[in-house]
């Protein structure tokens, strides 16, 4: 059992989950799998944080969910982005890029002093 390689603030987790869901409705476990795969195994979220995040975002209206069946005919709750969720994702990823740029600039700037 490996320890998670990176801890994620739950705001960032939210953004990542939103991003994953742009690929279509998914149930909880599938979202966790996708996050893992897409990040080339770097990110392994603490599974226990995922559901609170999903519920929180659903309450805020960024997601909606309903019961459905998986390919293997298992009953599961599927989550999907709402319009508001799309907008939230757009604003958060813009914010994230700004943040990443700022961090990069600081890191590079110290070299020149």
């Amino acid at each position: 059992m490996t320890e998670p390689k990176s801890e994620l603030l739950h705001g960032t987790l939210d953004m990542l989950v939103l991003r994953v869901l742009t690929g279509g409705p998914r149930h909880g476990y599938a979202i966790a799998q996708d996050l893992q795969q897409l990040s080339a195994d770097v990110l392994r979220i603490e599974q226990g944080s995922l559901y609170p995040s999903l519920y929180r975002m659903e309450k805020r209206g960024w997601l909606k969910s309903k019961w459905g069946t998986t390919e293997k005919n298992r009953r599961a709750r599927f989550y999907q982005l709402t319009r508001q969720g799309h907008r939230q994702l757009a604003s958060e990823s813009a914010g994230w890029e700004e943040f990443a740029d700022a961090v990069a600039r600081v890191m590079e700037a110290t070299d020149e002093r």
Binding site: M1, G28, Y29, G48, Y51, G61, A76, R77
Partner: protein, 892 residues
């Protein structure tokens, strides 16, 4: 976020707080299963997989708590919301009701009967009284009319100058039209046909907003003299006579030998009145003849549409003001006139039907009450049995609210089942009723199960449900708690309180059914009194037929008389025919022409200085009284010598003679019909009263005038008195008529016997329904009484056993039980008699010859109920006598 989703979620979490929690649990469980599967797929051994999955996932409780926090929910596993509880209640209630199928069936059926019967009558009331008329904005259409104050406010239409004044009152009337019904002979086509026209003034079609299906309706030009007259066809007539040919517009038809151009077709369903084939213009052409323009000649019928915002009161005030002004200007002829405005729907339905329907509605409400009381009684009895169960539940913490909710659920289920069955019953009942109501009694096209009726059923069922829940709830939550847990259930179950309540309810049932029985009894007596009434003529073995001789072929009195004398002569040759006669108005409600005139004695002053005496005029041939079997009480009947060369005479009915000449013989008095003919006639005979408008109404005053002395009023019907079955000579009679004139339409063929019976149709209908409801009520009340007595006998088995062991005989036990039943019944009967006395006033206008406080009826009903009570309690009473003291005491 879309508001509804939030609302749904909030509502959902309020009603079913457990649900969200269950979802969290399920998602977590699923996730763990997925994890396990993956681990297994990667080769981890099964038990290790489970454990590892748990570890990877983390602390389940903490996750659950965090999820719950995210949803802002309190997580309490055992809390149930209202929604959960109601589901439980309903399931419990279903199980409970199913465990006692007998009780449930009886309760549901009783309810179904009560609700079903109410639904049927309500649908009738709804269709006839409550529904709007099917015309555009019909609530603004009214019938203005002049009123004769000294005739008890009789409505008499309007005169021409009056109508003209009313048309100027545009502040109250948006539109106003005069109308009349007139027959026409349609000739020139294939067969001549007698059709009916509604003759209308210019605003008629615009009042109704009626648009022509083809062509156009009347314009003011059509009312001017010079061009051909025009006519508008009804859709029905157009289809029937012209096969819907659109080319009929512009074609010419001959009405009474005059050419009319057809200018359009209108759907008769959009206007009132109906029943005609065509419309023709009134006031056509030349100024009207003088007599038609007199203030005291009320020959017009008027309808009007009120201006928006004007109500009937205001319109009436304006017209009364005009009437008073005219009365002041012309006291001699208009002194006793006023005005009235009647809304169209009231005008169409009529007073008597309204009363009848309200009586029926009230009666059927009583039946429902009795049914509910019965079911409530059953429920109280059951709740007494369930005391133990209730006590245990309460000990376990169920609050009063919970118990009441449970009872409410049961009550609603019962009411729902009863309502469903009741609706089924009503569907059949409505169909049956519509089929059996005589056609002319009321218009039934809008009677059926529509939205309003279903709403009514729902309301009734809900009220019943609440009643059922509250009544037993009241008893089960009273302090019988401790006693029943300790006891083994002996003793009068339910305690004094519930026993008293059930007794009171049974007394109430008896009272209600007594009221209904009295009502039914009074109606039945009234009906039988009416049928036994003397119609004033011979009804057996007499046939009548209506004949209208077209003016075209019978232009004057001579031609008409020749026809009648010839045809009557021939008819009397038919074997089986005793005699025949011809006359203007057929008795027993069969007449289509009713003429009323006002009379003054010679020397008497004209109104308003003195009274005038109104009577219906009937012109008759000699032999009339003999053929119809009308008794000549004084003087003589008419003879051939009563013609224009001799003194003008008249024969009057007994009631007219008594009114105009009280206490003296009218023979020899000279009387004139002063508003029209104004010729003095000598009274030469007095005859018995005749029920001219049917057995359901008092006989009117009638003045008979010999046909030969009234050339303007030709006969419109004949009567044939036979020695055999009257219908058996009908073909021969028709044959003789058509021998004389093959193109003559014959209408209204009827035997007088049938007419007398038919005229009581409405009374019979109401009496039958009331009897049915009273019957149902008595059966239900008897059932309730039986249930009560039977139950108390069962509960008192031990007491009875003790008494018998102590020496009481079977007679004593029997008497005891019966006495109990009779006491209850007597109280119910006494209270019921008082209530019936008060309520029977309502029946007033429907009763003939029977007073609403007729003691015979009341006595009979009381005795009947007493007998029913004894019958209902005989069986349990006998059961009581069979109690074996030894067995009864064994269960000490």
């Amino acid at each position: 976020m879309p508001p509804w989703r939030g609302i749904r979620r909030t509502l959902g979490s309020m009603l079913f707080p457990g649900r969200a929690e269950r979802r969290i649990d399920e998602e977590i469980r699923l996730h763990l299963e997925f994890l396990e599967e993956d681990l297994l797929a990667h080769g981890t051994p099964p038990d290790a997989a489970t454990r590892q999955a748990q570890e990877v996932f983390g602390d389940k409780q903490r996750v659950k708590q965090r999820c719950a926090d995210a949803l802002a929910l309190p997580v309490r596993t055992h809390r149930k919301g209202l929604g959960d509880m109601l589901t439980l209640d309903i399931r419990f209630a279903i199980r409970n009701l199913a465990r006692r199928p007998g009780f449930t069936a009886i309760a549901a059926l009783t309810l179904a009967l009560g609700i079903g019967v109410n639904t049927v009558i309500f649908s009738l009331v709804n269709g006839v009284l409550l529904q709007d008329l099917p015309y555009e904005e019909a609530d603004r259409v009214v019938i203005p009319s002049a009123v004769l104050l000294d005739r008890g406010g009789m409505l008499i239409g309007s005169s021409y100058p009056e109508f003209t004044e009313w048309t100027e009152q545009r502040q109250i009337f948006e539109s106003i039209a005069a109308f009349e019904l007139a027959p026409f002979d349609l000739t020139g086509g294939e067969e001549p046909e007698r059709i009916r026209s509604t003759v209308v003034s210019p605003e008629y079609f615009s009042l109704w907003g009626a648009r022509p299906l083809t062509g156009r309706t009347f314009t003011p030009d059509d009312y001017r003299d010079g061009d051909d007259q025009v006519a508008v066809l009804t859709h029905g007539f157009w289809q029937r006579r012209f096969a819907g040919d659109p080319g009929v517009v512009g074609s010419e038809i001959l009405l009474n030998e005059a050419p009319y151009t057809v200018i359009g077709v209108v759907d008769e369903a959009t206007v009132w009145p109906r029943g005609s084939d065509i419309w023709t213009p009134m006031f056509y052409g030349d100024p009207l003849p003088r007599f038609a323009r007199r203030w005291d000649n009320s020959w017009l019928r008027v309808m009007a549409r009120l201006q928006p915002g004007v109500d009937v009161e205001q319109a009436r005030a304006v017209l009364v003001g005009i009437a008073e002004r005219v009365a002041a200007d012309m006291p001699a002829i208009r002194g006793s006139y006023s005005a009235e405005v009647v809304p169209l729907d009231e005008w169409i339905v009529g007073d008597q039907i309204q009363t009848a329907l309200l009586v029926l509605m009230g009666s059927v409400g009583f039946v429902l009450l009795i049914a509910c009381v019965n079911v409530a009684n059953l429920l109280i009895a059951r709740s007494a049995e369930r005391e133990h169960e209730v006590a245990v539940r309460r000990a376990l913490g169920a609050g009063k609210g919970d118990l009441i909710r449970q009872l409410l659920a049961e009550g609603m289920l019962l009411a729902g089942a009863g309502a469903a069955a009741g609706i089924l019953l009503a569907v059949w009942g409505i169909r049956f009723m519509v089929a059996s109501i005589p056609d002319d009694v009321m218009r039934l096209d809008r009677v059926g199960l529509d939205g309003t009726v279903l709403l009514f059923v729902t309301a009734v069922a809900t009220l019943s449900a609440v009643f059922f829940a509250l009544v037993p709830a009241y008893f089960s939550s009273r302090g019988e708690l401790t006693r029943s847990i300790k006891e083994t259930g002996r003793g009068p179950a339910g305690g004094r309180a519930s026993q008293r309540a059930r007794s009171t309810l049974v007394v109430a049932e008896v009272m209600l059914s007594l009221v209904l029985l009295v009502g039914a009894g009074l109606m039945i007596r009234s009906l039988s009194a009416a049928t036994r009434r003397d119609p004033g003529l011979r009804t057996e073995s007499t046939l009548t037929l209506g004949l209208r001789l077209p003016r075209a072929r019978y232009p004057d009195a001579e031609a008409t008389d020749r026809f009648y004398l010839d045809v009557l002569d021939r008819i009397e040759q038919i074997p089986g025919v005793e005699s025949s006669t011809a006359f203007l108005s057929t008795p027993l409600g069969l007449s289509t022409y009713n003429l009323f005139r006002a009379h003054l004695e010679e020397g008497a002053p004209e109104p308003p200085a003195g009274p005038e005496y109104s009577a219906q005029w009937n012109t008759v041939l000699p032999g009339f009284f003999r053929t119809l079997g009308i008794a000549v009480l004084e003087g003589r009947a008419f003879t051939d010598r009563d013609n224009t060369s001799n003194e003008p005479v008249m024969i009057v009915s007994r009631n007219f003679a008594d009114e105009m000449f009280p206490g003296e013989s009218p023979l020899g008095k000279r009387v004139r019909s002063w508003r029209d003919e104004n010729v003095y006639r000598t009274i030469v005979g007095v005859v018995g009263n005749v029920h001219q408008f049917g057995m359901g109404q008092a006989p009117n005053n009638i003045v008979y005038v010999p046909r030969l002395q009234a050339p303007g009023l030709s006969p419109q019907a004949i009567a044939v008195h036979t020695s055999v079955d009257p219908l058996s000579v009908l073909p021969a009679v028709r044959g003789e008529i058509w021998n004389q004139d093959p193109a003559l339409p014959i209408t209204n063929i009827q035997t007088l016997e049938q007419a007398a019976a038919d005229s009581l149709g409405p009374d019979r209908f109401i009496a039958r329904l009331l009897a049915l409801f009273a019957g149902i009520a008595v059966v239900l009340a008897a059932g309730g009484l039986y249930g009560l007595i039977s139950y108390s006998v069962t509960q008192q088995t031990r007491e009875i056993g003790i008494r018998m062991a102590l020496g009481a005989g079977t007679g004593d036990v029997l008497a005891d039980v019966l006495r109990r039943a009779l006491v209850l019944t007597s109280v119910g009967v006494l209270v019921g008699l008082a209530a019936a006395f008060a309520l029977s006033r309502v029946l007033g206008s429907l009763l003939h010859d029977v007073s609403a406080s007729d003691p015979l009826t009341y006595l009979a009903v009381a005795l009947v109920l007493g007998g029913v009570a004894i019958a209902a309690s005989i069986v349990p009473a006998r059961r009581a006598t069979k109690v074996d003291p030894v067995t009864a005491l064994r269960y000490e």
